[in-house]
Structures are given as C-alpha cells and as structure tokens.
Symmetry: C2
Subunit: 429 residues, 2 copies
C-alpha cells in the first residue's frame, strides 16, 4: 500500500463535517478503492469551541485556513468555507503555491475567479477539483470532462438550485403564493443568508457558468449569464401553466450558436411529463446533449451533507489515485474567450394577459401579436375575475425573443390590459 | 504536446465504425482534451471487402485480430468484435501480454471471464476499460467506480436492454400482443441473432453482473443472477398493470443483504410516474443508491453507433490522459466471493387470476392468500370474459417471495382457476 493521502480541511459546516464523517466511516473502503489510506491531519473553522457533529480530536486544529493550506503534513487542501473572495480564494492560492492540490465546493469562487485559479494551478502543476460545486451529489463535472470527452457538446441545461425548485413545486402542491412559501423556506433554513443568491438565480447561474466553460472550452464567464430569478412567478402562472400541460422551473440553459454563447438562467415552462417537468422538491437535474451520445440526463440530490460530501470524496479519491487533469477539462491557457450572445434561439412562449372585459379586446391583442410576426399555437380565455378582468393565455408557435419583447412592450399600448403582461419561455427539452 | 496514442481496432461493425468516425471528426477536440493526438494505426474485421460507412484507407488492414492486438505500433487495443469467448478473449489476452491497454464493449465476455481478465491485466500492470459494455452512452461505470467511491453502495437497479423496453412500451402504446411486437422488432433489426440474449434477459443480466461487482467489491458472478425474460408478459398484464398505476419493465436489481448478494433480472411493476416507469423505447436508465449520496439516476441511449462509440471514446480519453485504475474499481485480487442469496427482500406483488364465474371462487382465493400470510392492499374484479372466466387482480402488501411462491403453487389446487396465475414483483424504486 502506498503512502497515505493527507487532507487539510478548512470549513467544518454542513459539507466539511460530512467529509470528516465519510473519511472516518469508510476508511477501509477508501483505502481499498484508492490503494492508499486517506487521512485527515489538520482542520479549521471560525469557532474552535463550537459543538460539531463529529469527533475531531485526532486532528490538529489550526487557527486559520492559511495554516491548513500550507501545512507540511497536508497533501490536499479542501476548501469548504465558501465565498467568492477573501479567505477562500487566498487560502486556495496559498495551497497551490505550497505545492498542494485543492478540492473545493465553492461555485461562487469558481464562477468569478475560476480562470485565474485554473491558470495558477496549471502553471504550478497542481490540480483543482470541484465536483461538489455543481448539482451536489450528481457527478456532472466528471460526466462532462471525462465521459463525454468524445462529444461536441451542443447544449447543457439544468435545474440546479434546490431551494427554488422546492419553492416552485410547493407553490403548486399547496396552492400557496410565492411570498408564503418563501417564508416557509426561510423558516426551514433552506435559504442562504442572502436569499437573492437562491431566488434571484445567482447561485444556479454560478453553476451554469462553470458548466458552460467545460462544455464549450471557453473561459468561465459568469457576468455573461442572463439571469432572472423566480420572484415574479405567481401562483396564477403556475396554475395556468399546469392547465396547458407545463410546469415552471428555474432552468439554466447554455448553448453555443453561430452568434456566440448563450447562457441564461430563468423561469421557463417545460412539459409536465418531461424528466425536468417531473422534478420535485430539492432534487437537481442536469441534461447534457452531445453530438454523439444524444441526450444524457443526470438526477440526484443537489445539496445536503451526504450528497455534497459524496462529491467531495469522489474528488479526493481521484487525487488519491493520482488522476491529474486540467481544471476545466482542457488546459486553462487554451480556453477561448466566448463571444457573448443575447438569447436569440427561437422558442415557443407562454403569455398571460389580464384583459378588460369589453368587446374587441382580444382582437387588439391578436393584432399586436400578428404584427410582431408571432403566430398562436393555443389560446385560452377564462371566465372573468371579480374585478371583471378576463384572463387570457396564449401559447405561441416558435418565435424569436425579439418578437416577444416587441409584443410585450406594445401590448399595454392597446389600452385593453388591466395589468402588465407576463411572458415565459417554453424551453424545448 | 505528448506522443500520440495509437489505437488498434478489431471489429468494424456498428460500434467500431462509430469509433473511427469520432476519431476522424473530433481529432482536434480529442487532442485538446487529452493533450496528445489520438490516432488509429491498424484495423481489422472479418471481411476486408465489405463496404463500410467510413474511410479506412489511412489505416493498416490486418487479417486477424491477434495481429492488431500485438502490433508494435498499437498502444491501445480496442476489441469490438463481441462474444463471450473465442477471438475476443484470445486477442484481449494477447494484447495485455504484449503490453497494451484494452478497451472493450463486450459485456458477455466481462460477465463470464471478467475476473480472470482483470487479474491478468493487473498482474501485467495493464488497464481494461469497458464503459460501453453497460448501458451504452450512459456513464455508469465511471459513476460507480469514481463518482460514488465515497459511498457504500446499497442497491443498483437498471433497465439496460433497449430492445426489451422497446417491446414492452410498444405493446402498451399499440395494444399489440407480445408475438406481434417481437416480430416487428425482428424486422427492424432490433434483435440479436439469438433473440433470447435480449428477450430472455441474458444481455441485461451480463450488465447487471458487471455492475454488482463494482458496487459491492465482489467477483463478477453472472451465474448467480436469477434471470427471467419478458416472453411471458401478456398484453393483458400490461393493461391491468396500467389500470393500477404501474408499468412493466425488465428490471435488474442487485442488492447486498445480510444473507448475501441478491442479483435478479425480471419483469417487474414500477409506478408509472417514477423515472423508471416513464422510460420509453430504447432508452436505458440506471439507478444507484449510496449511503451518502442517496439516489442517483442516470438516463440516456443504451445502444446505437453514436452513444456506444461515445462511451468507448471516454475510455480512450482516460487512457490517453494516463488515468490508470483497477478494472473493477479495486484490485481484482481483493474482490471477494459473494455469498449468493435467492431473492428474499420483501416486496409487494401483483397477481392476476382468471377465475371461474361461480359463487365462492373469490373467497377460496382470499383464503389461500391469507393462509400464506399475504395481506391484500388492493383487489379488483373485472366483468367476465366471453368464456365466462372472471379476471381478478390483486396487489399485495409487502410480503416475501417465499410466501408468494407458496400461494402461486397452492392457488390452482382450489379448482376455481381457469388458467395459471400470473405473479409479478412490484419493485420499490
Ligand atoms: N451545503 C450544501 O449543501 C452545499 C452544496 C454544494 C456546495 N456547497 C458549498 O460548500 C461550501 C461550504 O458550504 P457549507 O454549507 O458547508 O457552509 P457552512 O455550513 O456555512 O460552513 C462554513 C464553514 O466555514 C467556516 N468558516 C467561515 N469563515 C471562516 C474563516 N474565515 N476561516 C475558517 N473557516 C471559516 C465556518 O466556521 P464555523 O462553523 O466556526 O462558523 C463553517 O464551519 C460553500 O462554498 C458552499 O457554496 C454547499
Ligand atoms: N451495437 C451496440 O449498440 C452495442 C452497444 C453496447 C455494446 N456493444 C458491444 O460491442 C461489441 C460490438 O458490437 P457491434 O454492434 O458493433 O457488432 P457488429 O455490428 O456485429 O460488428 C462486429 C464486428 O466484428 C467483426 N468480426 C466478427 N468476427 C471477427 C473476427 N473473427 N475477427 C475480426 N473481426 C471480426 C465483424 O466483421 P465484418 O464487419 O467483416 O462482419 C464486425 O465488423 C459487442 O461486444 C457488443 O455486445 C454493442
């Protein structure tokens, strides 16, 4: 048996403690599977006195992450603190410079500084792995960098924020408005300290930006993601969409087009009987389309102690087996700067309107859509509300985002709308 | 850039030609992703003059597989001939002895001789990879050997024969009997030369045996799989199961229990709204359950030129990157001999009976079930058939296979059955 792989862990929260537990529980399994013992030598967190759900007495406590990152008896530095800057980044850089490999679950950091860190690691002959950063326990990083390496990737899609998916499915099942379920989620501890990271789509966009880089061999570009959160999704839309056979999901889509790389994160309609439509609660799903393999669907828990630590362990095992790969699947200095494209791939759209209950209102709407070059696939008019407004739903044939934007801008000018029109993309899945 | 990886390919059928095409089409991509050129030097098949869907003129033609396997200018031998014995096995052994690594898609060979081949490869410091052997384009071998390496695997399940799934879903959608759809499948070229490999569940069992070995660290033991094919599935059962909210799938399940390793391949009922229940046509699905990660679901094309060649390419890329792993994820000489257990894990069962239309018939049935200790969850009696027999469906609560076997044996002795009872396990998914 070879020499042990010695881990230094910074961050002993949900994920860090999960990793400690697996290293303790599955020591034999890990040694068998890697051919060497996997040991923890040093750990750190903010508060040494905090009561944690694992026995840490066998490990040296360091007072800061930099000490763990650079300790002589650490081979592999595991950053589980979080944050796109600060100590997480500093300690990873210090670890690389001290000749350590790095494993992290920090999607914010990689989405913002991934290129810079990859270049640093590769110039030093070091490895950074981050399976846990995207979709928790689902092995999507490995699938894309390794399993689909013989494919030109065509599109990557995913539901990658469990909290948003929990909120949307709970709104539907309980018939509750957004605000009520948001409050529930907060009380259940499902929301980040800054909830816009979740419901604003930022966390999911961090993940999408990372996947785009691997899929298309481009420098990670979080700033280029068109982001829209789920805050404006009403229980009305969820119900109407269901009427038409759809579910609303916060869906990330990344797609290379002739005009450049489209990356968007937005609430979309997907068929309720599709794998994405069937996804409930905190489960994540990633769909990858390659020119050879067709469509691959991966599903599993996107967060939580066990699943996230499982992903960290897969990275640790790879490093224990001395598997060494460029950070984003090909050398960082060969990744290209993608042309950023605003979404232009045509799609069907869902439009919800509240019309005044008077003759000719619907005709005016139809005229505007016609002038914008939008043809209607299905239209449904509902009985009027108490305030005498009439809900009208339109599902369009495939059209361009530009045409939809134009129509949505023009529609209020007809003077027959009671409120602003709502429009949602129907993503083809 | 490092020296090229030189491939020798034996077998130029569906998969072999698929690999040739990818190597040609994606040469740049492969070089970027592996850091070295991937080239083909020698090829072979049975018939040199056969017209093939790729330009092979740049490669040396060898007259037999042994010559490709042992050629000086071949680093990696790719066996795509097939067959559990004979030239496939001989040439792989020769390649290993000649110092080559090996990639194969040959599940029959691995299911039967995998242990022996793994021991040979590892004693020689060589690698055998076989991502394509199980579930085509779905990266399940990699997921299990690498991504879930921090987990104690608890159960592996899969729908892994596209032809069987095609037949079962087509029977349901077209309302056709088994024989008619079997004939259709034969005409469409979906069936192996020996169709019992498909419909008899053997091909799927080869795959299950391989997954079991990786999941549980045991020597691959195809002979221990309890196998039942789909030949006895009637359109009646498909319809009745649908009535009760189920679909019938040829499902493989491998599970370690206190009594030993249960491996079974059989037609089962699964809820029609579960991921497995939703699977239509030739698509495959593998479900892996780990103690840390929970349930991971992988879905994609299980066969065909592009998907299978994509999986072969992932193995080639790994070897080009010099990733070296034990064949079954841990050293072959450490794999244990699993105790074989007949299925004893309790489950709910579906029982279909055709009763004589006379008073007291149902009471006799209920009495037998009661005596066997089987309690009934749901029972449905249908209007009588033309021959005056009365179809009765029973869904039991969880019970043991032994109790079911006993009841199925005893039921005909009541004298109230018009035909043999049909029983199918309802697998919990
Ligand atoms: N939770 C998940 O399901 C999940 C899933 C995927 C990815 N991730 C990522 O994994 C990382 C960790 O997440 P988590 O959920 O485990 O977070 P957490 O539960 O909040 O834990 C964070 C840990 O970092 C420690 N810490 C904070 N500031 C520190 C500092 N300056 N120096 C040293 N340690 C410091 C904290 O110490 P104290 O305990 O003393 O306060 C705590 O132990 C984040 O990047 C997150 O995005 C999490
Ligand atoms: N097809 C799939 O979707 C799929 C999926 C997963 C795994 N697999 C596995 O992949 C392997 C190949 O399958 P396939 O579908 O590509 O089979 P195939 O289309 O029947 O091709 C077999 C090839 O082997 C050649 N061959 C036969 N005997 C030979 C011999 N003695 N020496 C050299 N070449 C010989 C044949 O030559 P000729 O062309 O001259 O007749 C043919 O090119 C099998 O192990 C199969 O189980 C296939």
């Amino acid at each position: 048996m070879s020499s042990p792989l010695r881990l230094g862990i910074a961050g002993l929260g949900t994920v860090g403690i999960g990793v400690v537990k697996i290293v303790q529980k599955h020591a034999d399994l890990l040694a068998k599977r890697t051919g060497r013992p996997v040991e923890i030598t040093a750990v750190t967190a903010r508060d040494r006195l905090k009561n944690r759900d694992a026995d840490l007495s066998a490990y040296r406590w360091e007072d800061d992450a930099m000490a763990v990152a650079t300790a002589d008896d650490v081979d592999l530095y595991i950053e589980l603190i979080g944050g796109e800057d600060g100590i997480a980044k500093d300690s990873i850089e210090a670890a690389l410079r001290a000749g350590k490999d790095v494993v992290t679950a920090n999607k914010a950091l990689l989405a913002v500084h991934g290129q810079e860190l990859a270049e640093l690691a590769e110039s030093l002959g070091r490895v950074i792995r981050f399976e846990a950063a995207v979709a928790g326990g689902i092995p999507v990083i490995k699938a894309m960098t390794e399993s689909l390496a013989g494919n030109q990737i065509q599109r990557v899609m995913g539901v990658m924020n469990g909290t948003c998916n929990y909120i949307l499915t709970r709104m539907e099942s309980a018939g509750l408005p957004y605000e009520a379920v948001f409050e529930e989620a907060r009380q259940l501890g499902y929301l980040e300290a800054d909830p816009t990271l979740d419901v604003g789509g930022i966390d999911a966009s961090h993940k999408l930006a990372i996947l785009s880089s691997i899929a298309f061999g481009t420098k990670v570009n979080f700033g280029a993601v068109e982001i829209e959160g789920i805050e404006r999704i009403s229980i009305d839309d969820i119900r109407r969409a269901a009427d038409m056979g759809y579910r609303i999901k916060l869906l990330g889509v990344s797609q290379m087009t002739a005009r450049g790389l489209e990356q968007r994160m937005s609430p979309c309609l997907v068929p309720d009987d599709s794998p994405l439509g069937q996804l409930v609660g905190g489960t994540n799903m990633v769909v990858v389309e390659g020119d050879q393999v067709g469509q691959i669907v991966l599903r599993g828990a996107g967060a939580g102690e066990g699943p996230t630590a499982s992903a960290i362990m897969s990275d640790i095992v790879e490093i224990a087996r001395d598997v060494r790969m460029p950070v984003f699947g090909q050398p960082a200095d060969q990744l290209t700067e993608a042309q950023t494209a605003r979404t232009a791939v045509p799609a069907a759209y869902y439009i919800r309107l509240e019309l005044q209950d008077k003759p000719g209102a619907l005709a005016k709407v139809a005229a505007i859509l016609g002038e914008a070059g939008i043809s209607i696939d299905r239209m449904r008019q509902y009985g009027h509300h108490d305030d005498n407004s009439v809900p009208v739903l339109v599902v369009t044939h495939k059209t361009t985002p530009d045409a939809i934007d134009h129509a949505i801008e023009t529609l209020p000018k007809t003077g027959v709308l009671v409120s602003d029109p709502v429009e949602l993309r129907i993503e083809e899945v």
